[in-house]
């Protein structure tokens, strides 16, 4: 009971933060609806990214608030003054070096023959923002791969592991100065969203009084943050001192602006109660259903980006025939993690299909490589999202519709499979959708005929 009350209180804080950012800092229109509530997808996903230690790629036109939205969310969820966050940002440009991104040798010590690493603020802070990541050359993108994946930063012989961290990266649409984001790195992003133009009427207010984030700055505290970050003290000690400063900044925000924010303990608590939310059976079955469509290939055993399936394949109607690559194992992790976070935010007791449906397009958009002819069919269609997100939304709609039609059969097939594995003598359920074929494969059947 007490726990529930505490949980509700934390949820209320997060809702307040959402409302505060939406009303004051990141003015934008709602563009999605979940369980009757309207949200702005970029803001919602950023908030969830911060809450569940995710990694978000924000795309959009220059100047439409990609970086600033991430900065605001980080400042308020993690209690860092905006100036400190600015100081820790990595901006993507070809001359960027490992020394600026991760760490450098302490020159004084180096001259004395000692090898001591001075870690970058980017590597140290739990909130990490990479601006214009696609302007980093591909080799430099690989440099942050490990850190991004595990919070593990290495330089010379030293290493630190971030206990808590989230990553926001922004990217402009492709132009003359951009590179592509390497496949392994892009797959590490949990979600991709677009920071959209807010429309003429809201745009009119942007930059006006109170909407430029000045409220999230405290020069005095920023200086203190800077000094702790520059000190040469062991990592755990430094983090402890940073936490203390964060709490002071939180108090300052509450006193100055009347905004409640989250402490490390609060965030930990949220994550723990988020993790305890169970997934309902339809969530479970639908996610399997989606993964099967995006990874199955009858002819070659699984999707591979270097193997194109034949024209006239029996499975032409499914997405396996529309995509080139195989969906990675990170995809279901992202989908589960973000759905749980969304369910927690909405105060639901179970993570259900609607949470998954809301999150899926953003977890798939950057991970799916569509075939050229499929893109050709869609690229000129009327839409309000960038092509990647639009195509992912359409794909989710398609799969969801297929699932709704045969949810009973899919769950039954999975239940029968469970009994077969437990030793009961039953026949696996046969069906057309790749999920049935995958089940039969898991049961050890040689499935070759169509």
């Amino acid at each position: 009971m007490i726990e529930e009350k505490r949980n509700n209180d934390l949820r209320k804080v997060v809702w307040e933060l959402y409302a505060y950012i939406q009303d004051n800092l990141y003015l934008n229109r709602p563009d999605m609806q979940i369980k009757g509530r309207e949200f702005n997808s970029a803001l919602l996903m950023s908030l969830l990214t911060g809450l569940c230690e995710g990694k978000e790629l924000i795309i959009g036109e220059p100047g439409l608030g990609k970086t600033t939205s991430a900065e605001y969310v980080c400042a308020l969820l993690y209690r860092f003054p905006l100036g400190t966050i600015w100081g820790s940002e990595v901006s993507g440009h070809p001359e960027q070096t490992e020394e600026k991104i991760i760490g450098r040798p302490d020159l004084g010590k180096l001259n004395k023959g000692e090898e001591v690493v001075v870690w970058s603020h980017f590597a140290l802070l739990p909130v990490k923002i990479v601006d214009e990541i696609n302007r980093l050359p591909e080799t430099k993108q690989s440099m942050i791969l490990d850190g991004v994946d595990r919070g593990n930063w290495e330089y010379l012989n030293a290493a630190i592991i971030n206990e808590e961290y989230c990553l926001f990266a922004t990217a402009n649409y492709q132009d003359r100065g951009t590179n592509t984001i390497v496949a392994p790195l892009i797959d590490r992003f949990d979600v991709m969203v677009e920071s959209k133009h807010p429309g003429a009427n809201l745009a009119y207010f942007i930059g006006g009084h109170g909407s430029n984030g000045v409220r999230l700055r405290s020069e005095e505290l920023e200086a203190e943050f800077h000094s702790v970050l520059s000190e040469n003290i062991p990592y755990p000690v430094r983090m402890k001192r940073l936490d203390e400063l964060c709490d002071r900044f939180g108090e300052w925000l509450e006193a100055q602006e009347g905004i409640r924010t989250l402490s490390v303990a609060d965030r930990r608590e949220i994550r723990s109660s988020k993790r305890s939310l169970p997934f309902d059976l339809d969530f479970n079955a639908f996610l399997r259903f989606v993964v099967s469509e995006l990874s199955f290939c009858h002819h070659f055993g699984q999707k591979r980006s270097n193997e194109a399936c034949d024209a006239g394949c029996h499975f032409t109607g499914y997405l396996c025939n529309a995509v080139r690559n195989c969906v990675s194992n990170r995809f279901p992790i992202s989908a589960r993690n973000f759905s749980q976070a969304l369910a927690w935010l909405l105060g639901d007791e179970e993570v259900d299909l609607e949470h998954l449906k809301a999150v899926l397009p953003f977890t798939l958009a950057h991970r799916t490589q569509w075939k050229e002819e499929v893109v050709a069919q869609r690229e000129k269609e009327q839409r309000s999202d960038p092509l990647e997100i639009y195509m992912a939304k359409q794909a989710v709609k398609e799969m969801h519709r297929r699932y709704m039609e045969q949810a009973g059969e899919v769950k039954n097939a999975l239940a029968v499979a469970c009994r077969i594995v437990e030793g009961e003598s039953m026949r696996p359920v046969e069906g057309d959708h790749p999920i049935y074929w995958e089940i039969r494969r898991d049961l050890g059947e040689e499935v070759t005929e169509v």
Partner: protein, 228 residues
């Protein structure tokens, strides 16, 4: 190995079933068996895709048809649907009219119902030999225009054709009654031994070899003629 389906342990495996599913399943089973019987008959009785109308051949085909449908539970809806299947070019790679009609007649004669109605008017194919050996106690109503040998070998049954019949209508019948609302073709009543044929429309011609029975046209006895 880990059971990857454990989350679904609590899902009951048997799903809700409505009568429709049972009806459709039963119907499909019967149709499959009827089709199987027909295809076997065609394979056995039709050599080189040619089937000659010859008395002994017809008798043998009928016997084979009867044995093919032994132990089969079906009703007139199944027979009517099987007619539709025969009419559907996709369902059977080849339909040879003679054996098809004899097979249908075997089905009709061995059905549980005494009164059977078949609506054949919208089919593209023409059915021959319908009503072959229709036994006493059975009434068969056929709607539509039919082919040759309708009611051939009729033995006591009542055959009503709401439409026309082709040549050799009632050929070799030994008893019973045939009523045709339209016309009949050539050789009506050929080899007839007993029973009656009533035709409301024109009669293309009478069979020359007749050994009994009567033919009426619009209620008037025309065969045997008073002079015979």
């Amino acid at each position: 190995m880990k059971n990857p389906f454990l989350d679904f342990q609590s899902v009951p495996c048997r799903k809700k079933e409505i009568p429709l599913e049972r009806i459709v399943r039963a119907r499909k089973e019967i149709m499959d068996r009827l089709s199987e019987g027909y295809l076997r008959l065609v394979e056995e009785e039709v050599k080189d895709l040619v089937w000659l109308v010859e008395h002994s051949h017809v008798v043998r085909t009928y016997s084979a048809a009867v044995s093919a449908i032994q132990d089969l539970q079906y009703d007139q809806d199944d027979i009517e649907e099987f007619c539709a299947e025969l009419d559907n070019a996709n369902a059977f790679p080849y339909m040879i009219s003679g054996p098809a009609g004899i097979y249908l007649s075997a089905l009709i004669n061995n059905a549980a119902e005494e009164h059977i109605l078949l609506r054949l008017s919208e089919y593209e194919r023409t059915f021959h030999f319908l009503g072959y050996r229709l036994p006493e106690g059975k009434t068969l109503v056929l709607q539509g225009n039919l082919g040759d040998f309708i009611g051939a070998g009729l033995c006591g049954g009542r055959l009503m054709v709401e439409g026309t019949a082709g040549n050799w209508c009632g050929a070799g019948m030994t008893g019973g009654e045939i009523l045709v609302t339209g016309y009949t073709g050539q050789k009506t009543g050929e080899w007839m031994r007993g029973g009656e044929i009533h035709v409301d429309g024109p009669i293309g011609g009478f069979g020359r070899a007749r050994f009994g029975g009567k033919i009426y046209q619009r209620g008037k006895l025309v065969v045997p003629h008073e002079s015979e």
